[in-house]
Symmetry: C2
Subunit: 257 residues, 2 copies
């Protein structure tokens, strides 16, 4: 590895997506290099721009370095359900890249800096180095669990519980990639976004949020949120941290078929 690629790699090794992967597996210099070599996109998308559009083919994987985005479905009656917020370290094109056509639209909520590769390039890497195929499984599993919790949230929790759960989820996901403090974080989007995540109307969200503040659960200054008693919030929102096991290392004889 020459000086240039080493420098590139240094930056890459601090990428929040790499931080995510490190939660599941150890990554050698060579692994980072393999991943980095896939990257053929490196861009910043500005706020309000669509990254993926419902109904169009999308065959890439993009890794968010900085910024927020929302993956959502617009229903025929005009209602919008945000399926997931995308934070630094999250992957765009998952699941859309694996469908004939994207099912959801992804929009930048802030300017978004990202790197990306084609699905085929990534899949080819999986054939050569099965660890990355497992990493993809783990990422997809993570995604599935996030969505499952979301369905529980909108299905059976009261508005206050939903908000509590939502804030804690975002907090823990941001903390994973070093974007949150012990008890607070920045939340750079409007309450309309939050209401479309949680399946509530804006006024009701606002009122319930005000109640959470009045009850001393959270503090809200501008777009910074601070938890007063995180344990109490976790109880209120039935929040449980998500602990994926590490990817088991290869064992036994390797057999190349």
């Amino acid at each position: 590895m020459n000086i240039v690629s080493r420098l590139v790699s240094e930056q890459w090794s601090r990428h929040p997506f790499v931080a995510r992967l490190r939660g599941y597996m150890t990554l050698s210099e060579g692994d980072l290099e393999s991943l980095w070599r896939l990257i053929e996109i490196d861009m910043t998308v500005e706020k309000r721009r669509d990254l993926v559009i419902d109904g169009y083919e999308y065959r890439k994987l993009c890794f968010i370095e900085e910024g927020f985005a929302a993956r959502y479905k617009l229903l025929r009656n005009g209602r919008r359900q945000i399926v997931n917020l995308l934070l630094p370290g999250d992957v765009i094109g998952l699941p859309s890249g694996f469908l004939d056509k994207a099912r959801y639209t992804v929009t930048a909520l802030t300017d978004v800096k990202l790197q990306g590769c084609s699905i085929n390039a990534y899949v080819n890497l999986c054939y050569r180095q099965p660890r990355f195929g497992l990493a993809l499984s783990w990422l997809a599993m993570h995604e599935a669990i996030t969505y499952a919790e979301h369905a529980i949230n909108t299905g059976r929790r009261t508005p206050a519980e939903r908000i509590a759960h939502f804030l804690l989820e975002i907090h823990s996901r941001l903390a994973e990639v070093g974007r949150a403090s012990e008890s607070g974080f920045d939340l750079p989007f409007s309450q309309e976004v939050m209401s479309d995540v949680l399946g509530l109307s804006v006024p009701h969200l606002n009122r319930t949020l005000a109640k959470l503040r009045a009850d001393g659960h959270v503090e809200l200054n501008g777009h910074h949120i601070k938890f007063c008693d995180i344990r109490a919030l976790e109880l209120l929102g039935h929040f449980q941290p998500l602990n994926l096991i590490p990817i088991p290392p290869a064992s036994g004889h390797k057999r190349f078929s």
Copy 2:
């Protein structure tokens, strides 16, 4: 392959889980054999028994051959949200097997016949044959999309729309594994189960279901459901079939690192 294993394999090749996989990839005799060799569990679990229990470690993958199960979360306030119904061909232990402890409980809604293996055995196969790692990714992706649709359902659809979407989803999933006719299927569980999937109360579910019948959308005899006008239902429920792309085959040079 001797006669016995060929016979075993014949049965295995008709397994609904194998049918699911064939939706993503071609499976050679050898592939089937590889998979089959992992199986170390083959049992029938009777109705009402728990297959996975929230809070306990679970390190298996089990493939449902026959029967229905429900994956759910019981909240502290006594409410239950069913996160997914498990049908023939579905996998138990996904996502629970990848967490330090299961987050959801899985209960048999009918007698359930299943085969299973340990997570480690499956992962080891992935190291030897990366195709199976990708297959796992595809399965997890499928799961994630199902959950995302579920969140949309409970978040922003009216009760009638939710029911329509739910029935169509189950129908299409059953059809994938040959367990449904063109316009109908058996739905062997109570309305309470359905209400806990959809986040509705039992009486309201019942009334809305009655309305769907009155409006000539569906017929309901006992536990058999029949669609009168499936296109109209799809419109009502905003239903879109799920089309995962096939797993791209390996291309270029194979490199064993």
